[in-house]
Symmetry: C2
């Protein structure tokens, strides 16, 4: 009997990666092409599909493709489209599912990266068997994927789960957001957010820090983490403040969705206790009595470099098994 | 053929009302008993069921009961219980579904008032045919019922939808909440909330107001509304501020759930444009670009005095038709 596999594709601005995974999330084959070399999405897809076909051929007919899952910026699961993604070479609305379905008989599903991460957590990771949980991705921005009653929460237009663009306080806050507004959660809680916090604390403080010799553009989340591990006071304060803001808004998330667990994924979450401890404290401090101690804050179990393609492939099994 | 009906029960601290409704929400019979006269819940239920049986008998066997829906403070739809409701005479966890099921062959469903209002809106009201919407109840507190992908959002422990206890800003806010914390949305947006806002503005202002002769305990939401209609500047400012806070937090709700509509129900919502206009403005001002103009803020269409029992009866049709 042939092994059933799912193809996972992660469309990025520079690179597009793919992988062929079995139901347990084991990778059978992987590859990538340069997104930015293709002006036309149809040509890009033809090249990508060809590369995937060669990978399948190398598996000598031992596998049966159950479907294709795609994670993409601004991927819309309802419409099967990528809609006005600023980081991709193709403008406007791209009917990705329609275009890819010409090549495959099995289902093609597209959604955004955070939703793919949530489905990946449910199918292969720490949320196996959970019906109500949330995945927060802490990269350049803050994304979120929400599973309620065992299904990905989509919303009326496929735009649910923009927790990164909920707001910290009423009135114009100081921090401009890439979305054009001010005071969104992701201006505080993301790799970019902690850089901003770090620079503000550094400006207010007279404490020494080896990062006083680093420019804003050079500064990375990892550098702040390394400094915090070495005892840098400013770096630790930056993590504390970031966790306070995240915990504060996660308390709203708990009151809204009543999840059993919240997973932190990627980027900042890799700073372990430096981000988890202040976040957990602020979350518990801000929870209503009957939620206290009842929601787990956990690191994602999909922690490999392959997370994006793993999550994308999980969309296929989720579609097959949960119908969403 | 017998007419199919649903029994709707609204358990309140003083009074418990019931009604027998057809699928269109028409009332065939109604009644009530005094909740507070019963020390024991079993005796209370026996008396209530007897009263309902008499009402059914008076319909001369022309109806067939499809189920019983109950709206109650702290009603938990997963457990079928009322859990530690402070306003009811019975303490602890009451296994309401278990107790009522002894009397009925058809399904018994219990949930809280705001969830019942949301299901009522979906079955009989303005949300017919909608799959993603939210009902905000603006009474003494602020409740919310959330429908996502056509189903009531329940959460891991039946405690989703506590939008009234999401918070306005980080750090201790001035306003104490009945839940024991500070700064919850319902301390600003509810009948009690607008009274607090009114008193604070009145204290800061030197403007005349006929309500300067009214005590806090005497003051009602209706009095503030009547004053606003007569041009009372302080009353109008109180509505504006209430709408600003509500619109600000509804923008978070839209980013989280991506609903197509938000309904305002009861209490403050009866102040029409005085609450709708500032709320709509603040909502649109705070929405991310791709949500702007895409979510309707609407008055509930279940506006009668019977709203609570109508909503409770709707739980029966929802259970039958949507399986939740």
């Amino acid at each position: 009997m042939k092994k059933k596999v799912a193809i996972g594709i992660d469309v990025g601005g520079t690179n597009t990666a793919f992988g062929i995974f079995d139901r347990e999330g084991n990778s059978l084959s992987e590859g990538s092409i340069q997104t930015k070399e293709f002006d036309e999405v149809e040509v890009f897809l033809a090249a990508l599909v060809e590369k995937i076909s060669l990978a399948l051929q190398r598996l000598n007919g031992t596998v049966e493709v159950e479907g294709v899952g795609v994670g993409a910026p601004m991927g819309n699961i309802i419409n099967g489209t990528i809609e006005n993604a600023v980081n991709l070479p193709w403008s406007g609305v791209i009917p990705l599912v329609e275009l890819l379905s010409k090549y495959y008989d099995s289902p093609v599903i597209v959604t955004n990266d955070a939703n793919a991460a949530a489905v990946g957590e449910m199918i292969y990771g720490g949320a196996k068997g959970m019906k109500n949980f949330i995945v927060i991705t802490l990269g350049t921005g803050l994304g979120s994927g929400i599973v309620a009653d065992g299904k990905l929460l989509i919303g009326a237009a496929g735009m649910a789960g923009e927790i990164g663009h909920t707001m910290i306080r009423p009135g114009a806050s100081n921090r401009e957001c890439a979305c054009g507004r001010r005071g969104c959660l992701e201006t505080y809680v993301s790799v970019t957010g902690i850089k901003r916090t770090f620079f503000k604390i550094l400006a207010d403080s007279i404490a020494d820090s080896e990062l006083r010799d680093v420019t804003f553009n050079e500064l990375t989340g990892k550098m702040i983490y390394q400094a915090a591990k070495k005892g840098d006071v400013i770096a630790k304060q930056a993590f504390d403040h970031t966790g306070e803001m995240l915990g504060f808004k996660l308390a709203d998330v708990v009151a809204s969705f009543n999840p059993e667990a919240i997973f932190l994924f990627g980027g900042l979450s890799l700073a372990k206790e430096f981000i988890f401890e202040p976040t957990k404290k602020a979350l518990e401090d801000n929870l209503m009595e009957h939620y206290k101690g009842k929601v787990s804050l956990l690191p994602s179990k999909i922690n490999s470099q392959k997370a994006a393609i793993v999550g994308a492939s999980a969309l296929v099994w989720n579609h097959k098994e949960n119908g969403s």
